[in-house]
């Protein structure tokens, strides 16, 4: 073996010659070695073999997804046409650049065309490595191929050849398009927006592209490459993300003008021009150029990186504003000299500073960037995978600080909310996904259990006022990553990020989001980070639905509103917290009901429960609570058929949550379909044996069917499991009375009356026992008190079996009228 026996002395000799040989152009190396090694044949063969290894190592390095893999990979093999790679038949090369080849290929299973990137046979690529590879590949391919970024699949042939298949669109290169003449402003702005989005994604992934230009075809166009270099790049100074923004400025200029802003006969005059000349405004040549666009281009082409946009995201904001016909904000800020310095750093913190750091070209090597075609026509009719139901798994808290969990949960909630607004996909409610927080289950297993087509996983990292959110969309069967994105922003802009994710995913699966989502409205507004923190703490506590939890939730929501009085979700949440507190009998409702209503109105700013709920559903068809509340409202209105439909829809979206599991039984009770209600309640109890409200519902349903003996048993369960809550005791007393066990019923009503002296007892619970005992006078005394106290159960006066014994009394209709229910 040659190398292992080397001593340092000999190695120094080899090293010297190798160094010099690497400096020598490849064609001259043989002659050089001849001279340098003389008759030391060993030395020469050693250096030659290292030069061969060097070339192979470089090749595999450039083309492999991970440094380790690259180092160990066998050399890249160019694929012959007509060869099969997995199920794909290669047809022709459609793009080639410094780092890889893209083929037009036919999917032999589906008969459709794809753009196929084939990677070198790569040792031991695990599924996770593949996913990461795909994520990294996407960030850059989104940049180079704004329109072929839909990844269909990434897989490996039996021989271990890794390949990625992208949607293929017919189109011409941007180069060719520009050659036909300047582009209309709209079209140019649209293309620039897509490139900026790609850059933002790449930058978020820590990648600086350094080679933004209309075409990556390299043959004979070295001058072309230089033409897109930023001044700092051209002068050999360090580059950061803003260098890419310059290059995009050149591309924009070229699209609008038909010619490049900087020209020169050779490298040095071109570089001179980049460093020194201020180009003519692009408007000079074309027709009318809106001032906003001109300003954006001018800002991008500032010689000083500090005068450009600080990030692709900021540019994107302006480009989108222009696209929406609004005036851009950043480009119109006062020049940096008068602007508070360090604003960006304070705003975005360490993440920003990281992004600013140039990353090694190695990172670019991680990804196969196919050069060449820059395509921008419409998809050729191929649809994305069909995703109808989606769940967002709890996000990983990467802060390492359990105190940040509420914040992470808040991001989770926001993501679900924004995704729900897409409209055409069902998004499983947040409560249903919490059970997967620490799960060992695989993606397909979870997807199967929730009956969804795809899952979103992700993580949240927070540092002070900055937050970094990474998400990926994984299709369950066959399991593959469809999309991944990372976002870094201020902590108050969580809703905005959630909106961005929703839009990205909507476009990924090629569906049109609702106009609200498209516009990023209405929730995509900055929130005071402190208010947001309070809000998420409130949500966290609200979810616990315990006495203490609700108390804390009320406190935090109020604090959120104090800090940011226009933060609508906090009002809605506060209303819900009050409502829950009342429902659970934790608070005396007389004082709270009006507050709940006022708050709820403030949150949605409209009257009419049904209308507001329908509006909420139109905005977010996947918002399970809205469906469930709507079913309640419809029931109260006596529209049981509609109510049942709403409840079914709601419980489809919210699985493994006891409240929704029992809703159908509630509605069936209203509709007096007791048989069905008994069945629903029993099936719910199979899952949620400990949920006392379920036993209470069963008792209600059994009473309706006249099965009082069984109803007593069910109520005893409810009483025992609820810690003798008045609502359950009332039902128990009722069932005892009708089962003929009057003494026991009287004992129960005695307990209720006694407790009512020292604590809040829903008066209707006492009334229903007296009613069942036939003591109508006492029953109506208590009902009057219930009315005065605004006992929430009175809403169900017309429905509940528990009030049946009182219905024939004339006082009952009077009460119905007073409560506002038509008899």
């Amino acid at each position: 073996m040659r190398p292992s026996g080397l001593d340092p002395e000999r190695w120094r000799q080899i090293d010297d010659v190798l160094d010099a040989a690497l400096e020598t152009p490849p064609d001259d190396r043989a002659a050089f070695l001849e001279r340098a090694c003389g008759d030391d044949d060993d030395l020469r063969s050693e250096v030659e073999s290292l030069l061969v290894a060097h070339r192979r190592a470089e090749q595999s390095f450039e083309r492999s997804p991970s440094p380790l893999g690259a180092m160990l990979a066998t050399p890249f093999e160019v694929l012959p046409e007509n060869r099969l790679v997995g199920p794909f038949r290669l047809l022709r090369e459609i793009g080639r650049g410094g780092m890889g080849v893209v083929y037009l290929a036919e999917d032999t299973r589906l008969g459709r065309y794809v753009a196929l990137k084939a990677l070198p046979p790569y040792l031991g690529v695990g599924p996770e490595a593949k996913q990461r590879f795909a994520a990294e590949a996407r960030a850059v391919s989104a940049l180079d191929h704004p329109n072929i970024a839909t990844l269909y699949e990434i897989d490996e042939t039996e021989a271990g050849q890794l390949y990625m298949a992208f949607a293929y669109y017919e189109g011409e290169t941007l180069d060719a398009r520009i050659a036909r003449g300047p582009l209309p402003v709209d079209e140019a702005a649209g293309i620039a927006t897509r490139i900026a989005a790609g850059l933002a994604a790449a930058h978020a992934g820590g990648i600086i592209h350094r080679d933004v230009k209309p075409s990556n075809v390299r043959e004979g166009v070295r001058l072309g490459t230089v033409a897109y270099m930023s001044p700092e790049q051209a002068s050999g100074a360090p580059v950061d993300v803003r260098s890419d923004l310059w290059s995009l400025g050149v591309v924009m200029y070229e699209m609008l003008n038909g010619e490049r802003p900087f020209r020169g006969d050779d490298h040095s005059s071109l570089i001179q021009s980049i460093l020194q000349t201020d180009p003519e405004p692009p408007a000079m040549r074309g027709s009318e150029l809106p001032e906003a666009v001109e300003r954006v281009v001018g800002k991008l082409l500032s010689k000083e990186p500090d005068d450009r946009y600080p990030s692709a995201e900021d540019l994107l904001l302006d480009l989108r504003a222009i696209g929406a016909g609004e005036s851009p904000s950043v480009a119109f800020e006062p020049p940096p000299a008068s602007r508070a310095r360090g604003r960006i750093v304070r705003d975005k913190g360490w993440i920003r500073r990281w992004i600013r750091r140039p990353v090694p070209a190695v990172l670019l090597g991680l990804v196969l960037v196919a050069g060449g075609t820059w395509l921008f026509s419409k998809p050729s009719g191929t649809a994305g995978p069909s995703i109808e139901r989606l769940a967002v798994l709890p996000l990983d808290n990467l802060t390492g600080d359990p105190g940040q969990q509420p914040f992470v949960d808040g991001v989770h909630e926001a993501l679900i909310g924004e995704l729900g607004k897409i409209g055409t996909i069902d998004v499983i409610s947040r409560t249903s996904t919490l059970r997967y927080r620490e799960t060992q289950m695989s993606i397909p297993e979870i997807a199967d259990e929730l009956d969804v087509d795809a899952l979103i996983e992700g993580s949240v990292l927070r540092e002070g006022d900055s937050v970094a959110i990474s998400t990926q969309l994984v299709v369950a069967s066959p399991e593959r990553q469809l999309w991944a994105g990372s976002y870094h922003r201020g902590a108050g802009r969580v809703f905005e990020i959630a909106g961005d994710v929703a839009r990205a995913i909507a476009s990924e699966i090629q569906i049109a989001p609702t106009p609200e989502v498209q516009r990023g409205l209405p929730t995509a507004r900055a929130v005071d980070p402190e208010a947001y923190d309070a809000f998420t703490l409130g949500q966290f506590n609200l979810e616990r639905r315990s006495r203490e939890g609700l108390g804390l939730a009320l406190k935090y929501f109020q604090r959120a509103i104090e800090i940011d009085s226009s933060f609508a979700p906090a009002y809605a949440a506060l209303a819900e917290a009050y409502g829950s507190a009342v429902f659970f009998g934790l608070r005396r409702p007389a004082s709270d009901i009006p507050r709940v209503r006022a708050l709820a109105q403030k949150a949605v700013a409209i009257d009419g429960a049904e209308e507001s709920l329908r509006r909420a559903i139109a905005l977010n068809p996947s918002y399970a609570p809205a469906h469930l509340h709507l079913s309640e409202v419809l029931s109260v209105k006596g529209r049981y058929g509609d109510a049942l439909e709403s409840v079914k829809r709601g419980s489809e979206l919210e699985r493994f949550v006891p409240f929704s599991a029992f809703r159908p039984a509630v509605v069936l009770n209203y509709a007096r379909d007791f048989d069905g209600a008994i069945e629903q309640a029993r099936s719910g109890l199979e899952f949620f044996t400990d949920f006392w409200q379920g036993h209470w519902l069963l008792c209600l349903s059994l009473s309706g069917e006249g099965l009082y003996g069984e109803a007593v048993a069910a109520c005893e369960e409810a009483v025992g499991r609820s810690g003798r809550t008045p609502l359950a005791l009332g039902a128990l007393g009722f069932a005892f009375a009708l089962d003929g066990r009057r003494q026991e019923a009287k004992r129960v009503v005695g307990e209720l009356e006694e407790r009512a002296e020292s604590q809040y007892v829903g008066a209707s619970s006492v009334a229903m026992v007296y009613g069942a005992l036939g003591d109508n006078d006492r029953a109506f005394e208590w009902l009057d008190r219930a009315y005065l106290e605004r006992d929430v159960q009175l809403v169900h006066l017309a429905d509940y079996v528990f009030f049946d014994p009182l219905r024939s009394d004339p006082r009952f209709d009077d009460l119905l009228q007073k409560v506002g229910i038509e008899p």
Partner: protein, 187 residues
């Protein structure tokens, strides 16, 4: 946070030439990285390459108060982390290998059972062994590989950390790759 303070202070002490600082810094960096890597490996099911750069940077953010260190401190930290990362990865690979041989299959998730990962582990270990051999006659090349590969550091960072010119780093990296490639594939 006290942990952050300590690491930051130790880095500053190291810059002032306090050699004891290195001894106290090393276990700190190693422990943190080990914890992060372990989390990642358990979470991921293991078996494939870690994104070493991300882990090293995560450790850096957790341990170091960035407002109080300069480029040189950062470079020292990264170089140290790169070395630690090498040990963690190789340890892990060796453990995996012995588990697979020793038959403790319960610890290996389905994803690990990928038939290629066995080979893969061998490759990682082969790389480590090749690096050991390289170190015997060219320590500098070995250090560059640790920084660039295990630490995911840029040429500039490596240059700062090892106090050699970027050009030398680049060349060393080329040569090391060539030598390792030949050693692993063709020896």
């Amino acid at each position: 946070m006290a942990v952050t303070d300590d690491t930051t202070q130790l880095l500053q002490a190291l810059r002032r030439g306090d050699s004891g600082a290195l001894d106290r810094l090393t276990p700190r960096v190693y422990d943190e990285l080990h914890r992060i890597a372990h989390r990642e490996l358990t979470r991921r099911g293991g078996g494939e390459t870690l994104r070493t750069t991300a882990l090293v940077h995560e450790a850096y953010v957790k341990l170091v108060d960035q407002t109080r260190v300069d480029v040189e401190d950062r470079a020292h930290f990264l170089a140290l982390a790169a070395k630690a990362m090498r040990h963690i990865l190789i340890d892990y690979a060796r453990k995996q290998r012995s588990q697979k041989r020793g038959g403790d299959w319960r610890k290996i998730s389905l994803r690990d059972a990928d038939p290629t990962s066995g080979e893969r582990l061998e490759e990682v270990i082969a790389l480590d062994e090749a690096l050991d051999r390289l170190e015997r006659f060219d320590k500098r090349l070995c250090e560059v590989v640790e920084c660039r590969f295990f630490g995911g550091m840029t040429v500039e960072e490596t240059s700062d950390a090892l106090a050699i010119a970027p050009r030398t780093v680049d060349r060393a990296w080329q040569k090391a790759k060539a030598w390792l490639y030949r050693e692993i594939h063709e020896a």
